[in-house]
């Protein structure tokens, strides 16, 4: 694998993570439990889709085969999406959406803090922009985890169920293969192994305050980085890609 191939693959992974979770959040538009949260979730969706756009633009340039950011976002097949499985999981109730975001934001926070120092100037610029937005997301999801976990009996029970169910998807965020090896050696991306403990420390501190617990042991799912997804992604893409598949090249 060349450095260019590794870089392209990496950009796709991170762009897909942001696009897919951004799309999931956008599904809340008009359905939020209260107006403020409807607005918050769609605002966060907008940030994430904006981040995905920047990453796809760069990926298209690195690939250099004439594809655009829109081609990459809308015209690939399911197996070509490289997002982690966590981000494609259905919204469930509001609490489940928050828990999914909570795990994701805490990972992204540490990851993008490392990415700010990337030797690749364009990645460093995207990261510097993105990290400011992630801090807002992180605060939002963390505060809700506490409020729901340490809330009513009903909210506690439901959000605990989501923590248990979604914790199966945590380790995959730390997945590494030769793509990462090449880029770590080049100083382009941080080594996620180095902040895994910090990640767990951060989420456990908040879960404790929320009177919630990670399950002691949980079978860990993976496959997303290789394009092997849960059954949910296909349905999501059917909606996401509908316009471009029906009216190819459509613009407004």
């Amino acid at each position: 694998m060349t450095k260019q191939e590794a870089l392209f693959e990496f950009l796709l992974r991170k762009a897909d993570d942001s696009l897919i979770i951004g799309h999931r959040l956008s599904e809340w538009c008009g359905h939020g439990p209260i107006l403020e949260e409807d607005i918050a979730l769609t605002n966060i969706a907008l940030d994430l889709i904006g981040q995905a756009t920047e990453l796809y633009k760069y990926a298209a340039k690195v690939e250099d085969k004439g594809r655009t950011e829109d081609d990459l976002a809308f015209l690939r097949l399911e197996r070509e999406y490289k997002n982690v499985l966590l981000v494609e999981q259905p919204n469930g109730d509001f609490g489940k959406t928050i828990v999914r975001q909570f795990f994701f934001d805490h990972f992204e926070h540490l990851f993008y803090e490392g990415l700010v120092n990337s030797k690749d100037e364009r990645i460093a610029a995207i990261a510097t922009k993105t990290i400011k937005e992630i801090k807002y997301h992180l605060r939002h999801s963390s505060e809700w985890v506490i409020r729901l976990g340490d809330g009513t009996e009903e909210s506690h029970e439901r959000v605990q169920e989501s923590v248990t169910a979604l914790s199966r998807f945590i380790d995959e965020m730390f997945y590494q293969n030769d793509v990462d090896e090449i880029l770590i050696k080049e100083g382009i991306i941080p080594d996620v192994k180095l902040f895994k403990d910090e990640f767990y420390k951060n989420i456990e501190a908040i879960l404790e305050e929320a009177t919630l617990k990670l399950p002691a042991e949980n079978y860990q799912m993976s496959g997303g980085r290789k394009g092997v997804h849960t059954e949910h992604l296909g349905y999501l893409l059917a909606e996401l890609q509908y316009m471009q598949r029906t009216y190819p090249g459509m613009e407004w």
Binding site: N43, A45, L46, G50, K129, K135, R139
Partner: protein
């Protein structure tokens, strides 16, 4: 046509989401460069990466310069990243008059649950206000309410 003239024209282009602010007040215009006699490059930077106003701003800039028979290309750069520190004093004053509290120093946001900043009410100036939602009507605003005059208001949140 001089650089100052172009800047002056850009003073007529307002943010579509906060129409009291010009793109110059907002600090979104980073540079203007003459490419040919009547052809200029305008360099802009987004406030938030997903900000949908950027496309509108780009079109508005081209349209405004077009009125003086100037063609232009607009380049979007991410680095250095926009910060609310670039909002001009004039911009801050206009925001407050418009009923939006301008960015206050919020301290270090990496401290997750650090102390919340005091966000004064733009209407009665009371400092006794509460956060309704960190996410307001647009990406750049948070939603607050005044505990004294009860006015709900937008706060142009700090981004550093």
């Amino acid at each position: 046509m001089k650089t100052e003239d172009i800047w002056a024209m850009l003073e007529d282009v307002t943010d579509p989401e906060v129409p009291v602010l010009t793109v110059v007040d907002l600090g979104v215009v980073r540079d203007v460069i003459q490419l040919e006699k009547n052809h200029w490059k305008i360099v802009i930077t987004p406030t938030y990466t997903g900000c949908p106003a950027m496309q509108v701003i780009e079109e508005d800039i081209k349209e405004r310069l077009g009125k003086e028979n100037i063609t232009s290309e607009v380049e979007l750069v991410l680095s250095p990243a926009w910060t609310t520190d670039w909002l001009s004093q004039e911009g801050r004053r206009k925001l407050e008059e418009y009923g939006i509290t301008p960015p206050q120093d919020e301290g270090d946001k990496s401290v997750l649950f650090g102390e919340r900043p005091v966000i004064p009410c733009p209407r009665c100036k009371s400092r006794n206000t509460r956060l309704i939602s960190q996410f307001g009507s647009t990406a750049c605003k948070a939603h607050y309410q005044c505990n004294d005059c009860h006015e709900p208001f937008d706060y142009f949140k700090c981004l550093k």
